[in-house]
Every structure is written in C-alpha cells, then in structure tokens.
C-alpha cells in the first residue's frame, strides 16, 4: 500500500500543472494576506504612517491599553470621554453628528478608538448603530454596568423576533454566553483580527487543491491508462484507497503551506500579541467563550474539514466524469456561487443552509447566533460544520471508490 501511495503522490507532484497551480495559488494567498499589511495606516496629528512603521506606531499606542476591562476602568473611560465632550472647543459637527476634534481626539480617542467603539457598541440596542455618539448618551452615575448591559443585550438579541429562536436555542446560547469570562482583558490583537476577517480568502487555496486533485481518477480515463490499472490485481481495490490517501495527503500538505503563509504574514507583521485575549473585545456580545488563538485554531480546523469534503467531492466527480474539466465545471460553482449569496437575517432554511455552504464555512460567524435544532438537540453553526463535513466526506468517498471500481473502459 505504501508503494502505491508513494507513486500516486508522485503522479500528482510530477505534473507541471501541479507546480503552476500551487505556485499561483500561494502567490495569490500571500498577496491577499499581505495586502492589509501593505495598506495599513496609523494616524496621528502629523498625518498617516503607512505599512510597518504604522504598525509599530499603533502597537506602541496599545501598550497603555493592555488592561483588564473592569467596571471601574470602563466607567472612567466613558466619563473621560463625556467630560471632553462638555467642552465646546473639543467638538466638531459634520451636519449629522458631533464628534471630538483637535487634541481631545488625538490624545484621547485616536489611541483607543477601537476600545471606545467596542464599549459604545455594548450599549447599542440590537440593530442600533450609533458609534461613539452612544457614549455621550450614557448615564454612568451608578457606574457603567458594562457586563450587566452586555448580558441584557445578549438576552435582547436572543429574543429578537426575526431570529425566531426556540426556548431550547435560547437556553443553548445563554449557557454558552455565560461561559464567557469577565471582566475582559484588553490589548493589541491586530494580527489575529486580520486573520479572522480574511479566512474566506483561503477558498482560492481550496479551489487550487481541487484543481490539482481533479484528474486523480478522470486523468486515468483521459490518458487511457484506466484499462491497464483496472485489469491489475489491486486496480479496483487498494489502488483506489491509495489514490484517495495520496489526494488527502497532498491536500493537507498543500493547504498547510497556504495556512502558514496566510497566518504567518500577518503574525510576522503585527506580532502574535493578543493570542490569549477574548474575542469579546471586538464585539462584547459574541457568545463563544474563545480567545483569538482558539478562534483561529477552531476555524482553521473547520476549514480543513471543508477541504477534505471538497477533495472527496472532487474525487467523486473525478471517478464519475470523463475528464477533469467537467469535474471543475461542477466544482467551481459549488465553491463560489455562495460568494454571491447574502444572508437575509439569520433564520429561515435559506439562511441556515447558506451558513453551511463551503464558502460560508470559512467564516467563523462569531457575531451571529446561528443555531440548528434537531428535536431536543441544539447545535451552533461551528459545531454543525464540524459534524456535517466529516459526514459528507464519509458519504462521498465510498461513492468515489464505487465510481472508479465500476468504471467501464469504452474508448
């Protein structure tokens, strides 16, 4: 079996097209994940600081923000913001809203704008977007009550009529949300945020791997080697397993290389700072009790499962179709049509299915309370993805095997 796997692996690697597709795909991935670094800009009173210099400047600004977001700290921060707002000299107006300007902005808001926005958003009602303006409206005489407000907001979100959540689903999310540790620790997390918000770009890598895998079976039909191998002792048995194993090995190795590039570039540029911070510092109502590192690991794990299922689908199509172009003609729409589909709310069969499609599965969707109920069992979207894709893999592989074993040499 080892020898068969070795040669099947060699067959994949030896093709010039493999090298070309992989190099192009790696370059695209590197470019896409390097783009936020190249385009990064930090601002101070003197203007914009671009690229690595900007990153360095911003990191320094965050040094004083590496704090625990206690009620006291949040209250003081809001109070200070409100105090600055009391001075008319600090206020600008664009015809729509008032905002801090001048030293008040550059000395207080600019270094901690993300933190202020996270705090402000915590007090917005569901589907309310007031930005920093919200901070000026808050009554903090009895303290900020940040975490109490967070819990109330989670509760309000769960009861949003458009979500149409069952009591079981509400219980599920309440239970999960209660596991989020408070108070949150704040700090610099730019690199991780870029990775988390760019995960969908890895679909190009998935497609590239599927392009390379597409001829695994159909290539034998195209080359006319099917008759020889199918009439050999292991042609209908071990060889098929060897083809599947080598495809998976190739897929995993190639994808790992992409992951290294995709995660490596932002983490080298922005640093690994923030790996142990909770994702709630981006959005306080995220129900998942994860740190940034945990989120990245879990989501990469899910993308690997999606990849394996897509490889299985590719192999199934490859075993059934006459050539690899036909395989790709089916595969590309499966992978990329969801790109053009947007969720319209968070419930309904359309949305629930949409969040399970391969492209959507690359996105963690931490902010959305997407859950699936099967009788008394409630599963969040991440868990269901982690179950669904291995199941799909397990279903498709026997069909791929069967397809090749029963292939008839007609031409």
């Amino acid at each position: 079996m080892k020898t068969l796997i070795k040669y099947e692996f060699l067959k994949i690697l030896r093709k010039k097209s493999t090298l070309i597709v992989m190099v192009v795909s790696l370059l695209i991935t590197a470019f896409l994940f390097a783009l936020p670094i190249m385009q990064y800009q930090a601002y101070n009173q003197d203007g914009a600081i671009a690229g690595l210099e900007g990153i360095k400047y911003q990191k320094e600004q965050y040094l004083q923000l590496s704090v625990v977001l206690t009620e006291e700290y949040i209250t003081d921060t809001i109070r200070e913001y409100q105090k600055l707002f009391e001075n008319p000299d600090n206020i600008g107006y664009d015809g729509y809203e008032k905002f801090l300007i001048g030293d008040a902005y550059w000395n207080f808001v600019a270094p901690r704008e993300k933190l202020l926005r996270t705090i402000a958003a915590n007090y917005n009602k569901p589907e309310e977007y007031k930005g920093l303006r919200k901070l000026t409206e808050l009554d903090i005489t009895a303290g900020a009550n940040f975490y109490k407000t967070r819990n109330e907001k989670v509760e309000a979100l769960l009861n949003t009529p458009s979500l149409g959540m069952s009591e079981k689903q509400k219980e599920y999310w309440q239970d999960m949300s209660s596991q989020v540790k408070t108070p949150f620790r704040y700090g610099y997390y730019e690199g991780w945020e870029i990775i988390i918000t760019s995960f969908e770009l890895l679909m190009f890598a998935v497609l590239a791997i599927c392009i390379v895998i597409a001829p695994v079976f159909s290539g034998e039909y195209q080359a006319g080697t099917d008759a020889v191998i199918l009439s050999a002792k292991f042609g209908k048995t071990k060889l098929i397993t060897a083809k599947i194993v080598s495809s998976f090995v190739f897929g995993i190795l190639a994808f790992t290389l992409h992951i290294v590039v995709a995660c490596g570039l932002p983490l080298i540029a922005f640093g690994v700072d923030g790996w142990n911070l909770p994702v709630q510092i981006v959005n306080s109502t995220i129900p998942y009790p994860f740190t940034f590192l945990e989120t990245v690991i879990i989501n990469i794990g899910i993308i690997y499962l999606v990849l394996l299922a897509m490889i299985s689908l590719t192999l199934l199509l490859s075993a059934k179709m006459k050539n690899s172009y036909l395989v790709l003609a089916v595969l590309v729409p499966v992978l990329f049509i969801p790109l053009f589909l947007s969720p319209n709310g968070t419930t309904g069969i359309y949305n629930l299915l949409l969040f399970l499609l391969p492209y959507r599965c690359t996105m963690p969707e931490l902010n959305n309370y997407i859950s699936y109920q099967f009788g008394g069992l409630v599963l969040d979207v991440l868990t269901l993805r982690a179950i669904l894709y291995p199941v799909l893999t397990a279903i498709m592989l026997p069909f791929a095997k069967f397809g090749f074993r029963k292939h008839q040499v007609l031409t």
């Binding site: 010039k16 080359a223 099917d226 008839q408």
Partner: protein, 300 residues
C-alpha cells in the same frame, strides 16, 4: 488452465458489438483477426474485466471473474490498444508503479522490471521520461508492463499498431518468446502479425466469432477457392471490380493476380494453396478493401 467465454454479448443500444461468443481457451497463442469494428477490442476488454458484458459470462477454471475477484487479475496481463502512459514518469518508475498495482512485492518488482526492460531493449532509457519515447519504445514498454506479473493469460490488443516493419518483426518474436505455457490472445487486423506465431486463429466479424481453427488447418475452409490468373494490364481493373484480388504481380506486360472466389474467375485460372491472408480477404473482402484503400495494409 481453461478460460471459457460463454454466450458472451455486449450491446450498445441496438448495436451488438459482441454477439453470443463462445470460446474455450487453453494455453497457446490465439490470433484474433477481424476488420476494424469487428468487436475484437470489446471482447478483449470483457476478458480483462474492464467492460461488463451485457450477458453471458467468463470463467477461469470454472469460476467467474466476479467470484475470483483479485485472484483472476493475478493471472492477467493486458496491453490495451492505444493505451496511455504517465508522461512524467520514467520507464522504470512506470514499471515499478504497475508492479505495485499488480501486487508484486518490492524485490520481485525490481528484478522483474530490470529483466523486462532489458528484454524489450529499454534498459538504456530506463530513467528517461516516457514523454521522450518513440511510438515503438512505448509499445515495447506496453508489452513489458503486461508481462510484469508473469501472467498466465496475456491479452494483447493490436500490439503492433504504429510500428514499422522491422519493429513489428521484433515484436512478434518477443511475443512468441513470452507466450510459452500461457493463454495469449493477440488481436490484430494485420494478418502477418499472427500468421507466423499463432497456434489458433479466431476470426471475428460484426461481433460474431466466425471461426476458431488451429493455424495448421485454418485455411482448409477456403481450399479450392483461391485462384491465380495471368491477365493483361488492361484487364486488371475489370478483375478488381468483380473479384477479391489479394495480390497482383507485374510480369513483363502481364499481371499475375491472386483471387479469392468461390468459382474460377476465368477459364485460365488455376487453384493455388490458400494462405491466411486469403482467408481474411475471403471473409472481410469488402471491409478489407476499404481499409486498404484508406491506407491500412491488411493483406500484406
């Protein structure tokens, strides 16, 4: 060892590619003759288990292919018509790969690969990529892979296609050497490929097996139907229109014609000893003529 084809049929829609073929094959070299489209390739694919018969079955020593599974393929070597290679593999890698698919252990695979590459005169290019090989080299590699597992059933589908006459002779001798104590079925529409080496001739036409005869007696059926006649050059076209002319030979201003026909084509004609080519033309006269006019030299 006995390979039996019983009531074997393959239908594509209304077309019968192979129609109720019954053959019992024992060790020996079988020349499977037939014009293009006669059903030779379809029959061979079914023997090799890569094409499912519409009905009938194939048994080896009384057991069907399905019953035997891998145990059937252990005995099988197959060189399909126009079969492909992996262009980026070297000849040695290709042989070792096929050896692995055939279930040979590593040591045996290496030894057999080296011996066979030497035998087909490809040792000196064993580490060259197959994409650099000529048609003849690929054909030799094709036969080498077919016998890697020392099969007791060797199926060769048009193995000499695309070879020049010198290579064809070399190939014929090679097959003859390999055929000892094996069931070898060699399909061709080139009569000379099998006339020297076959023990038995199988003749297929439009999916039917027309005859199965030992080489020594295969032409008996057309004894008294092969004629030779000396005609003027002007008369040649007339004879060609009305009879199956196997051969013509110019002698001064006259032409000596070899004709296959039930009755004497002229009063001057005399009966001669029939050959396999005559038999082929007798059965495939019109098809063979068409192929010949298309550039396929069937009756050479």
């Amino acid at each position: 060892m006995e390979l039996k084809l019983q009531n074997l049929c393959k239908q594509y829609g209304a077309k019968h590619a192979v129609d109720n073929v019954n053959i019992k094959l024992v060790p020996g070299l079988y020349g499977l003759l037939g014009a293009n489209g006669a059903g030779k390739t379809t029959l061979m694919r079914m023997i090799c288990g890569v094409l499912k018969p519409s009905s009938g079955n194939i048994t080896l020593n009384g057991k069907t292919i399905e019953e035997l599974g891998e145990q059937y393929y252990i005995h099988l070597g197959y060189m399909p018509q126009d079969f492909g290679f992996y262009p980026d593999f070297t000849a040695r890698e290709f042989m070792l790969y096929i050896a692995a698919v055939k279930g040979l252990d590593k040591k045996e695979a290496k030894t057999r690969t080296e011996n066979l590459l030497h035998m087909v005169n490809l040792s000196h290019v064993a580490d060259k990529k197959i994409k650099t090989f000529s048609g003849g080299m690929k054909q030799r590699l094709g036969i080498a892979q077919a016998v890697l597992n020392n099969p007791s059933i060797l199926i060769l589908d048009e193995p000499t296609a695309g070879l020049d006459p010198k290579e064809r002779v070399r190939f014929r001798n090679l097959i003859s050497d390999l055929a000892k104590e094996k069931i070898v079925v060699l399909s061709t529409h080139i009569v000379s490929d099998v006339s020297y080496i076959a023990d038995t001739i199988l003749l297929m036409k439009q999916g039917h097996l027309l005859l199965q005869e030992p080489m020594a007696t295969v032409t008996n059926s057309i004894k008294g139907k092969v004629w030779e006649v000396l005609v003027s050059e002007q008369e040649v076209s007339k004879y060609s229109r009305h009879f199956s002319v196997v051969n013509l030979h110019h002698e001064n201003n006259m032409v000596r014609l070899r004709i296959v026909n039930e009755t004497a084509p002229s009063i001057d004609a005399h009966i001669i000893e029939p050959s396999l080519e005559d038999l082929f033309l007798y059965h495939f006269g019109e098809e063979a003529q068409i192929e010949r006019s298309n550039g396929n030299e069937n009756v050479n």
